[in-house]
């Protein structure tokens, strides 16, 4: 397969019709929609980072420092809602899934382009509602992102609006999932068999199934809370015979699989990056592909490990604990296969690979501490402490977040046709990595010593740990600013990127950078697997 010449159609960034913002926000081109998501999601990510930064800063002295306890409660709620529902759940599937999935399988667009645009609008509506909770009377929700009943039924803050935001975001997620599953089934190019699908496509495909199957349950659960607040139907209200524990069950039936909505696409991106920079085929293609499905399947059966101290039966606890250990198996398969792929490779220490290394390291810590939390006896000691906070930040930020950054640095030249300054990108990674570990590693220790999560105050013996962690947050923020600044600079001033900047073998690297409007001059015929670097 030789590089396709940039034909008469021009690339997707070029002015279309009358141009202007309308040609973007009403575009049904999957690439433009991907960029729309990127802009919206990154902006909200920066809002979430700012909130997190101030939460940390509040803890620099004991007692109220820069905010009152209620403000702190609202802050961690909003930080959670934004970072989870608006950033990490949609980010990799919506940005890179949209932009790359059709190109990677040799299609001109997704199966339902207009539906795709609609999901972006749902996303924006959800984001708008979430931000609106800040601005109107009663103040933003203070329940935590989990909206646990019965407090979420009783508090006077804008919980109803926040819940509506999440439900609307759920629609967006479902529609994207339906679109991707149908696209992968229907629009693969000739010769693109299932076993020739790039692993990123496998990961997004598995993710899309979780989005379809799990999101409606969260949606109806939150609707029940809304009905509870507005009408008082009593389902989660103990005073009326209802049971708040059932809320937790229904919440985690979605929200635990949602963890895999976050991490799977990031893992998919890593599976693309590792073979390209090791210059060899991925070790155990089938194992990596099927482990995505395995994670999606087993991950749907472990929600109870969030509820070990809720008072449910010991038998249920044993079952959920066991399956939690099982889900580590497909995750570990992936890690071993990435590391195995490096063996005897011809490594090129390019920026995306370094980000991928950071991902593997941080995700492994996050995953292993997850096993500690999944053990019934240890969980009693560690439940609702900083240890949990540290664990899920290692998985979600260190894992899914760094995976997203890796993907961003890997596909940036393809998406925009320009290269960023790799030295600055590496420095940013160093800052991010040091900042991240300085911020979150002490939380493991504090949590083990008994520091509970979600408090705006702490006992004197936790002072040192808190201080180290706060300094870490400054370094991390500096890293984020440098990384984003470097990329924005590259958008305008970066050197022109090559069509195949990294020497990848997947289809997106066989088209010009940035890709043409219709992706391909003609639909390609696929003759090789995705990591077949040797050309005849």
């Amino acid at each position: 397969m030789s590089d396709y010449a940039a034909g008469a159609q021009g690339n997707y960034l070029q002015k279309e019709g009358r141009g202007g913002i309308l040609s973007w926000i009403f575009s049904t081109d999957h690439k433009r929609i991907g960029i729309l998501y990127l802009v919206a999601i990154l902006s909200l990510f920066l809002v979430g980072v700012t909130l997190g930064f101030f939460m940390r800063l509040e803890l620099i002295t004991r007692g109220p420092t820069i905010m009152a306890a209620n403000t702190y409660n609202s802050l961690f709620t909003l930080h959670g809602v934004i970072m989870l529902f608006l950033f990490i759940i949609p980010v990799t599937p919506s940005v890179f899934g949209n932009f790359l999935l059709p190109i990677m399988i040799g299609a001109k667009d997704v199966a339902f382009p207009r539906l795709n645009l609609l999901s972006w609008w749902f996303y924006m509506a959800g984001a708008f509602l979430a931000i609106l909770t800040l601005l109107i009377a009663n103040g933003p929700a203070d329940t935590g992102w989990t909206f646990y009943a019965p407090y979420s039924i009783r508090t006077g803050t804008n919980v109803t609006l926040a819940l509506s935001a999440v439900v609307v975001l759920g629609f967006s997620s479902i529609l994207t999932g339906i679109n991707f599953v149908t696209t992968v089934h229907r629009l693969r190019a000739p010769g693109m068999t299932w076993m020739r699908l790039p692993l990123f496509v496998w990961a997004v495909y598995a993710t899309a199934w979780i989005q379809i199957l799990a999101t409606p349950i969260l949606g109806v659960n939150l609707m029940l809370v809304v009905a509870e607040r507005l009408l008082g139907i009593g389902i989660f209200d103990p005073a009326k015979g209802g049971d708040p524990i059932l809320y937790q069950h229904l919440f985690w039936i979605y929200s635990h699989p949602a963890v895999y909505i976050m991490i799977l696409p990031a893992m998919g991106a890593i599976s693309e990056i590792v073979p390209v920079f090791a210059r060899r085929t991925i070790f155990g293609y089938k194992a990596v592909a099927y482990s995505s499905i395995g994670i999606a399947a087993v991950g749907s059966l472990v929600w109870g490990h969030h509820m070990f101290v809720s008072g449910f039966s010991y038998t249920a606890g044993v079952y959920f604990s066991l399956f939690t250990f099982f889900v580590a198996i497909p995750s570990a398969i992936k890690v071993y296969n990435w590391v195995g792929s490096l063996y005897k490779g011809s490594l090129e220490a390019a920026t995306p690979l370094l980000y991928a290394f950071a991902f593997i390291f941080l995700f492994s810590i996050g995953g292993l501490t997850g096993l500690i939390l999944g053990a019934l006896s240890l969980n009693i000691h560690l439940h609702d402490t900083y240890f949990v906070v540290a664990h899920f930040h290692y998985v979600k930020f260190g894992g899914a977040g760094f995976g997203f950054f890796a993907a961003l640095h890997y596909w940036f030249p393809k998406m925009f046709g320009r290269m960023y300054n790799t030295k600055l990108a590496n420095v940013a990674l160093l800052l991010l990595f040091i900042g991240f570990n300085t911020l979150f590693f002490p939380l493991f220790v504090l949590g083990f010593q008994g520091m509970p999560r979600r408090y705006y105050d702490y006992l004197p013996q936790f002072t040192n740990g808190q201080l180290i962690s706060i300094v870490g947050s400054w370094i991390l923020v500096a890293g984020v600013i440098l990384m984003v600044g470097n990329l924005i600079h590259a958008l305008f001033k970066g050197k022109k990127a090559q069509a195949n900047q990294w020497g990848g073998a997947t289809l997106e690297w066989q088209v010009p950078s940035p890709p043409p409007k219709e992706n391909f001059e003609e639909i390609p015929e696929v003759k090789y697997g995705p990591y077949h670097f040797k050309r005849d």
């Binding site: 409606p216 349950i217 389902i235």
Partner: protein
Amino acid sequence: MNETAEIAANKHKDYTGAKIGMWLFLFTELFLFFGPFLLYSIFRYRYSTDFINAGSELSLFVGSINTVVLLTSSLSVALSISALQKGNKKLTLLLLGVTIVLGAVFLVNKYFEWDAKIVHGLYPGAEALLSRPKGEILFFGLYFFMTGLHALHVIAGMSVLAVITFFVMRDKVTQSDYVKIENGGLYWHLVDVIWIYLFPLFYLIR
């Protein structure tokens, strides 16, 4: 790549793809109702006597009429699809109209049924209901939530069918291009199927 997929890639008209998308969407709708059904079964188990007492207060007559109405509407929508496939546009429009009217009849019945309950103080938050046993409070909470959610789906289904009627009038959905009416029909059947489960759970437990 088979023939239909080839058409899909070139003309962007993929019937199988549209069907897959619709079925996936129907799955999400089923899972949406799965949550409340789960809650129903748990509370039914905990408060079985209360549930049976409360259930006997619903009007079996109105419920049965509504069941017949919805089943008939499923028949008419299925017939409308066959009519279009046979090229009979007039009959298609008539049958779609019948379906929408039956949906409206269902909602009117539902309105009177709800109204009767509300007059008797049997609605969430009412004093009369709160003084009853806990299981009955939950029964009526679930009753209003689930039938309400279902009624919203009836309205959505009627809107979908109205749009499709418009498409048939304008010849955008035709004998040779009928996937939209098929998908609309599928959605209407889903609305029907959910009612088939709601009816026995709320009206027939005695």
